[in-house]
Amino acid sequence: MFLLKDPLLHFLVIGALLFGLYFLLDPEAFSDPAKIVVTPGDITLLEENFVRLRQREPSPEELRELIDNYVNEEIYYREALAMGLDENDSVIRRRLRQKMEFITKDISNLYKPTTAELEQYLQNNTAKFQRDTRFSFRQVFVNTDKFSGNVSEELARIAQRLNENKALVESTGFLQAEYTLATEHEVTRIFGEAFTKQLFRQTIDVWSKPIQSQLGTHFVKLEQIVEGELPQLDSIYQQVYQEWLRDKNQAVQLSILGQLKSRYEIIINNEETSSL
């Protein structure tokens, strides 16, 4: 019972149906090998292809040629198959593989998920949709390049001034003295990953010890940290749907391939591989 609730299974059922129908409806599957029938549908298709290429209707004579050509092609095609010319031809193999992939790609478009399914998908993939954590903090960048003397003594002097709330000579430059509700994404872009990791570990309202980033040395005072919330489905419905669709497309393709694979016993006779 549990399995029947899985939307993926719906796909597989639809997929199996589609495959079944495809093979059933394939006219070649039940045609007489010694009879070639050109149906009105075939003729329409020939006409349409002609119009698409030449931007006009074919004349009666041209249509006759198209049909003759179609019949000749069919004869060659059947004879070639009978002689086994399709085997070991990489172009034919590749085309057929593409056709199969094309069919499996289409399946996901046949199925529209319910809101409940998308809600479930959202809950199962919170990392994908969660808003960024936000930080408010004060920051002092210390350019240690400029220190001629003992770096740790200089840093201790700055730490003391910060703790006493005294003004600093350090200029802010590109890095601001204060950031208000900056997202994790923004902070990482400005300061690099190493800085963000350490920001998460700071105690609120206390000047940090000197911390090293990929830019240099900083003191920070974390004032507020706001966990990113998971948005309601309504507000990001399209986004969730797109991600769901992409995931499902991939899952269905893989799973159909897996199902088909299970019908075969695969033996790879390669001495090097088997000895591994």
Partner: protein, 600 residues
């Protein structure tokens, strides 16, 4: 009479741009965000990219740019170390999106000759056929159907809309106009400000003359569409990119110059197929000019001699002379970066290069030894390519409007793929203590002009304030240079000033040069240390060679310490010696858009 009205029209347009350029100035700029992005890349919807074996469409391109993990052409996971802030996919408009349809039975193009070649796996022949079609301006049979083109363009636009996430990841609707007259690269990327776009792009099949592209954009603007074009690969233009003549070979006029500046405010500093900034042949005293050069005839991959009218620095110099000759400087353009990848993804990072031409250069072995990469006659042709450049802009918000406006007023810079933070201003009254002011950015805007702008001459010597900080994911800084260009009407000149140097180095007053910063690169392991160089460099500089009444161009170049070139990482991975045809290390850099000193 008609002529006068038209000129008046142009003037009015120029005025409206001038008004626009001050839009950001009304509020404090001290808290601007620095954003990095690319305005140039191709997915499988570009017919040549498809021909190279690329099967990844716009989805993969956008997802990779915003920082997601996707598969590279070899099927290996690929992800940017740092996501991009903005991105414009610029697929070729000519036969846009028809390539994936070449193998789709029942599609409008399935039975065409080029489709047959692709279906038979003859990618190189298909590619040649496509290139020839673009060069000759004659669409391939069945691939130029306007109805098909319109519906594909709508789908293409929807991709950009789907991935645009204001505040975090901005996408622009844009495309490449692929003009190749006689094989000369005259390509332009067209960028739209917002969702207001034409029904169909103006392509090089419509016309391969830049003047006609400008006319199309001028028409669109009348319908409320905000748009401009950005040229690229001056280096592969056979001297045509910054030529003195128009498409008919006629010496350019004032009107030509005005229209060019209005319609093409930016040129791409560099990209995978080489940097177009300067060439040692024209800058013999610039020891840093020989950087990721690429001088080949694009369709055949044959080497060609460098021409002055291929290079940005030369164009900026020549523009000063043309100002006097025709009454308007036609080359008042700023800089942007991009990759021009044809593999949907592009890393910009030397340590993470995946190649840019899909199945032609997707593995270290192919990049090092294959006969590919536009130099098909030479083994290791791909070695001469690079992972592309980035565009930097300082804006109030990561949204289409502010980024587009900054680009349009040329307040942008380019880097060789690194994330150097850079601000540059020119003026007269900058205090030497400017940088001690916490709001120095606002002060600099009040007392001067930012990169990309004109500085009206007052007779006082020009001052330049410049501040640069290292990238969190690259090497320390070596130096900041100011490059000054001027002309005496007969000859053009350049002078390079080292205005800030790391490690307490000084410029030798006799040679005018500073000693090299050193090199910490360990070639065997493709690693380096930041034991040399500076975390940040800054200077308030006054032009010591200022001449009253002389027009000049000033721009900034910031150099990093040497780090391993991407090809060195490949060699380590393969366990072989690095190739001797390319350098093993490079100095990543940033180039600012210039400031023009204008005597009225």
């Amino acid at each position: 009479m008609w002529n006068i009205t038209r000129k008046l029209g142009t003037t009015l347009l120029l005025i409206s741009f001038a008004t626009l350029s001050h839009a950001e100035n009304s509020q404090s700029r001290s808290k601007d965000k620095l954003l990095f992005g690319t305005l140039h890349g191709h997915s499988s919807w570009s017919i040549d990219a498809y021909g190279l074996g690329n099967r990844e469409g716009p989805d993969e391109a956008y997802r990779f740019a915003r920082g997601e993990e996707v598969k590279d052409a070899s099927g290996n996971p690929a992800q940017l170390k740092m996501p991009l802030d903005f991105f414009m996919l610029s697929d070729h408009a000519e036969m846009l999106g028809t390539a994936p349809m070449l193998t789709e039975k029942g599609s409008a193009v399935y039975d065409t000759p080029v489709a047959k070649l692709v279906q038979e796996g003859k990618a190189t022949q298909a590619f040649t056929m496509i290139s020839n079609a673009i060069i000759s301006g004659k669409p391939l049979e069945g691939l130029g159907d306007p109805k098909v083109a319109k519906s594909i363009w709508q789908r293409y636009v929807e991709y950009a809309e789907k991935y645009n996430t204001p505040g975090k990841f901005t996408t622009f609707i844009g495309y490449e106009w692929t003009s190749l007259p006689g094989g000369a690269n005259m390509h332009r990327n067209v960028i739209f400000k917002d969702s207001k776009v034409p029904e169909a792009p103006f392509t090089a099949m419509d016309s391969d003359r830049p003047e006609d592209l400008w006319s199309a954009m001028e028409e669109w603007r009348k319908n409320g569409i905000s748009v401009f074009a950005m040229s690229h690969n001056g280096n592969a233009s056979l001297g045509k990119m910054f030529s003195f003549t128009d498409s008919d070979g006629v010496f350019i006029t004032k009107e030509y110059a005005q229209r060019r500046n209005l319609n093409e405010p930016l040129h791409e500093a560099g990209q995978v197929k080489g940097v177009s900034m300067a060439h040692p042949q024209f800058s013999p005293n610039d020891e840093f000019a020989d950087f990721e050069l690429w001088n080949y005839y694009l369709p055949a991959g044959a080497p060609v001699p460098p021409l002055r009218t291929n290079y940005v620095r030369e164009a900026w110099k020549m523009g000063l002379g043309l100002q006097a000759t025709v009454g308007e400087n036609p080359f008042k353009f700023g800089l942007k970066g991009g990759s021009d990848t044809h593999g949907s993804i592009n890393t910009f990072e030397e340590f993470n290069n995946r190649g840019n031409h899909s199945l032609m250069d997707n593995t270290p072995k192919k990049r090092m030894f294959a006969k590919a990469g536009q130099r098909e006659s030479v083994e290791g042709g791909s070695l001469f390519l690079n992972p592309g450049t980035l565009t930097g802009v300082w804006v109030s918000k990561n949204e289409r409007g502010p980024i587009f406006d900054a680009l349009q007023r040329k307040e942008s810079y380019a880097t060789s793929g690194t994330r150097i933070k850079l601000r540059m201003f020119a003026g007269y009254d900058f205090s030497p203590k400017l940088f001690s002011d916490p709001n120095w950015v606002d002060t600099a805007y009040q007392k001067g002009v930012p990169m990309g702008a004109d500085l009206v001459a007052t007779g006082k010597p020009v001052s330049i304030a410049v501040w640069a900080m290292k990238s969190p994911i690259s090497g320390n800084l070596d130096r900041i240079q100011i490059i000054k260009l001027w002309t005496d009407g007969i000859r053009d000149y350049e002078k390079i000033y080292d205005v800030a140097l790391s490690d307490n180095r000084k410029v030798d007053p006799v040679t005018g040069k500073a000693e090299k910063v050193g090199n910490t690169v360990d070639i065997k392991n493709a690693s380096y240390t930041n034991d040399i160089g500076a975390k940040e460099l800054k200077a308030v500089w006054q032009d010591p060679d200022f001449v009253k009444g002389q027009d000049a161009v000033y721009y900034v170049r910031v150099l990093e310490i040497p780090t391993p070139r991407w090809s060195t990482f490949d060699a380590v991975q393969l366990g072989v010696e690095p190739a001797d045809t390319v350098p093993t290390t490079l100095q990543e850099r940033a180039w600012s858009s210039p400031v023009w000193l204008v005597n009225k």
